[in-house]
Amino acid sequence: MTRDEIFDSVREVLVDALAVDDDEVTPEAKLIADLGAESIDILDISFKLEQAFGFKIAQGELFPEGVTQDPEFVEGGKVTDKGLGELKERLPHFDFTSLEADRSVGNVANIFTVDALVDFCERKLQTAA
């Protein structure tokens, strides 16, 4: 499966799960800020990706859980070095550039882009192959 084909499938999943238009799903679109995803949508997207690609997604594999609530990882509303390390380890499919520039906890959701989702699926498919 080429990256373009993966992107097309991811776009189809997002259009279905978030009731957005095809052209809103660009690689740089942020799932929460731009496409309006809520927490239940993340579970919905996860189910739909499993069906579209035939792999299994474990709890917390696609999106961090508990990290932003843990005082060890977040201090004074900012993600700590340890927190950033934890996120990077758990979520190798994300680009952390924007979070490195602005460590605000509210900014964590912004790393969750369409492109990150395509990366995630590409990695999963490579592992399964």
Binding site: A17, S39, I40, D41, I42, L43, D44, F47, E50, Q51, Q59, F63, E65, G66, Q69
Partner: protein, 173 residues
């Protein structure tokens, strides 16, 4: 008190499928307000579609709750799709078929078909599909927001247990 929008469970395949029925009755108060006569138009009692969606939510919710022996607080989190093409009127019977599409510790997604059975002088007609309602459920205690809820399972209370008992469905211990 809890509004029950299904009358009986007629089929249950655990973790897979649940079929429930509901008789639409003119004795239901809301049918007199939905829609009342106005001006020159006579009253038009039809089952509100929002309550048909609730009926599917209860059908699918029982199916999802049964899968974990009603230990989880299963709440409706998202109406992924709701399409209804025909009104249900007093005397009609609705048949809700819910199937689980995906399920994890965090929640479940379900697909649902709504059929209508209309009676005439010869008896009940064949069920015909009048809509589809797909839903997402969240297991409250495993919600991603990390919110805490009471220990007591307030979702599956006595009304649901009565429904299951009267339908002959064994309630897991």
């Amino acid at each position: 008190m809890r509004w029950m929008w299904i009358d009986r469970v007629v089929e249950l395949i655990p973790r897979e499928k649940l079929v429930a029925i509901k008789g639409v009755s003119l004795a239901e108060e809301h049918l007199h307000d939905h829609f009342p006569a106005t001006g020159g138009r006579p009253a038009l009692p039809v089952m509100p579609m929002s309550l048909i969606v609730e009926g599917m939510a209860q059908t699918a919710g029982v199916l999802v709750g049964h899968a974990e022996a009603f230990r989880e607080k299963v709440v409706l989190a998202k109406v992924s799709r709701a399409e209804l093409t025909e009104d249900a009127v007093p005397g009609d019977q609705l048949r809700y078929t819910a199937t689980i599409e995906s399920m994890t510790d965090m929640g479940a997604s379900t697909k649902g078909i709504i059929e209508l059975i209309r009676h005439d002088a010869r008896g009940p007609g064949a069920p015909r599909e009048i809509g589809r309602v797909d839903l997402m459920f969240s297991h409250l205690d495993n919600n991603m927001g990390g919110a805490q809820f009471p220990e007591h399972n307030f979702v599956f209370g006595e009304s649901f247990r009565t429904l299951l008992r009267s339908s002959g469905v064994e309630i897991p211990a």
